[in-house]
């Protein structure tokens, strides 16, 4: 039987719409389910008190602080190295063996399951460097984990900056460094920020890698050398050990809200930075 092109066109349109719709529905279903279950748990006390009784009672303040600190350490360490590598790959070297090796390494790293990073972090940072279970060990491990993401997105962002900007900057007597910092970087910052935000998202959500490196202490961390427990870790433990499903949902809901806030704030910062030129 022959299908007329008009029918095929209609069928394609319906299928494409349906797949897009399905994705949105699934995403919304998960988010709404967690928010409905979790938001009623969120209260002032939940936000400000540290967990008591293994997390059955009290709040989750120390895990919020732990999450933010581990993430901050990871991002502060990974961003300069990642962006630096991206600039090396795009501006300082020609395509060749070295770039292929770096790119292959970065791609391989991004395919490794996070528990392997956890194991590496445990052996290297916790045991070998004697950093112990700490925010620093966790942050360093996550930094290694998100490095490939930051390198790849930054590299793409830098590559899309028009060659003309570079040429103009050089023709006005700019050195390579001036050209990179004043002409290329401001144009690439939006794309670089996307990579960093993706990295933040992965850090905030990570469980396996931090459980092995940051510990699972419930008290408020005193410094980056203290052990801590992140929110993702906390609700994993709460749910798995059957300590409190209510608190687990509350923590999960808060985590979703936190990720949302980080995204909005990061976007605002970038817009503010970029808005001047466009």
């Amino acid at each position: 039987m022959k299908v007329s092109s008009r029918t095929a066109q209609k069928a394609a349109k319906i299928l494409i719409w349906a797949s897009a719709l399905l994705v949105i529905v699934i995403l919304l279903a998960i988010v709404i389910f967690i928010l409905i279950k979790g938001v009623p748990e969120i209260s002032w006390q939940f936000l400000t008190e540290i967990p008591r009784n293994m997390g059955r009672d009290g709040g989750i303040s120390s895990t919020i602080v732990g999450t933010l600190l581990v993430t901050a350490v990871a991002v502060i360490i990974a961003t300069p190295f990642g962006v630096g590598t991206a600039f090396y790959l795009t501006e300082y070297t020609r395509e060749g063996k070295v770039t292929r090796i770096i790119r292959f390494s970065a791609e391989s790293l991004s395919g490794i399951p996070s528990i392997v990073y956890g194991l590496f972090g445990f052996i290297f940072f916790v045991m070998y460097l004697k950093l112990g279970w700490s925010i620093l060990s966790g942050g360093l491990t996550l930094a290694v984990m998100i490095l490939p993401t930051i390198i790849r997105t930054s590299e793409e962002a830098i590559r899309t900056v028009s060659y003309q900007y570079r040429e103009v900057s050089f023709s006005l007597g700019g050195t390579k460094w001036q050209t990179i910092t004043r002409a290329v970087f401001p144009s690439a910052i939006r794309g670089i920020a996307v990579g960093v935000i993706l990295g933040i998202g992965r850090c905030v959500a990570e469980t396996a890698a931090v459980i092995l490196t940051a510990g699972s202490a419930l008290r408020m961390p005193g410094s980056i050398f203290s052990p801590t427990r992140t929110m993702a870790e906390h609700f994993y433990i709460l749910a798995r050990e059957g300590i409190s499903m209510e608190k687990a949902y509350g923590t999960a809901a808060l985590l979703i809200i936190l990720i949302f806030i980080i995204n909005v704030v990061a976007n605002m910062l970038v817009n503010r930075f970029v808005a001047k030129g466009r």
Partner: protein
């Protein structure tokens, strides 16, 4: 004679990998004149302009032979600072290339690179450069709006102003009007005629007529070689080489 020439090019050869773009090119360029280097596509005019401020250095796999003297000093000598050379020999490209920042920041980009910081001196530079490029009246009230919002002709005059802000000695223009309408083109040609009082201008015009309108001297290139050069009127009215007259009269190209 040599002392009077701003730029002297001696036996220049330029290669992209194996392909030769400029062949045994020699030319003396006097100061405070407009020189139009013209020829059909792939005749080497763009490459020639780009060797003059060493933008060609940026392309991997190129090499050159011969010398280019600016005020008697070889620009390829090892003690020449390329960044300083490019400040002395400014370049305007074939499509307008504003940077994604404000009008003010675009013009101040060059002076800031050389370490100028104070707001007052930058403001002076920007205003002077915009006046010289005949753009001041059109943009004086919106210096801090994005340069991308200007029209194509305004953008190109902005690019000229950006070069002028560096107080260069030579200005290179590579088909600066190829993306512009006739009115904008006329404005740019008018300002170039004013600017030659203070600068040496070398332009690759986007057609023969433009060379005739603005240039004091012309040089005709074909396949990377200099075919003929001289005072504009002489070359246009009395070309010595048949290829020159064929090109000027529109028999090819």
């Amino acid at each position: 004679m040599i002392q009077q020439s701003k730029i002297v090019i001696n036996n220049l050869n330029f290669y992209y990998q194996k392909k030769q773009a400029i062949r045994d090119f020699s030319l003396e360029i006097p100061g405070n004149e407009i020189l139009a280097v013209f020829g059909p596509a792939n005749s080497g005019t763009t490459t020639l302009l780009r060797t003059l401020n060493r933008l060609c250095d940026l392309i991997p796999g190129t090499h050159m032979e011969g010398e280019i003297l600016l005020d008697g000093k070889n620009i390829f000598a090892p003690d020449i600072s390329v960044t300083e050379l490019r400040r002395k020999i400014g370049m305007v490209f074939d499509v307008p290339t504003p940077l994604p920042m404000s009008i003010f920041d675009n013009i101040a980009y060059g002076p800031r690179l050389s370490g100028k910081k104070t707001k007052a001196s930058l403001t002076d530079d920007v205003e002077r450069a915009l006046h010289m490029a005949a753009l001041w009246d059109e943009v004086k009230d919106r210096l801090h709006t994005p340069a991308m919002r200007l029209s194509g002709g305004q953008q190109q005059r902005l690019c000229i102003a950006r070069v002028l802000a560096l107080e260069p000695e030579v200005i290179l223009l590579d088909r600066p009007c190829s993306a512009l309408d006739p009115v904008s083109t006329a404005k740019i040609e008018e300002s170039l005629k004013q600017l030659k009082e203070q600068f040496t201008i070398i332009i690759a015009p986007h057609n023969v007529q433009q060379a005739g309108r603005i240039a004091d001297r012309v040089a005709f290139m074909l396949m990377g070689s200099l075919i003929e050069q001289g005072i504009t009127a002489e070359v246009f009215e009395n070309p010595k080489d048949k290829r020159t007259s064929d090109y000027i009269t529109g028999r090819f190209g």
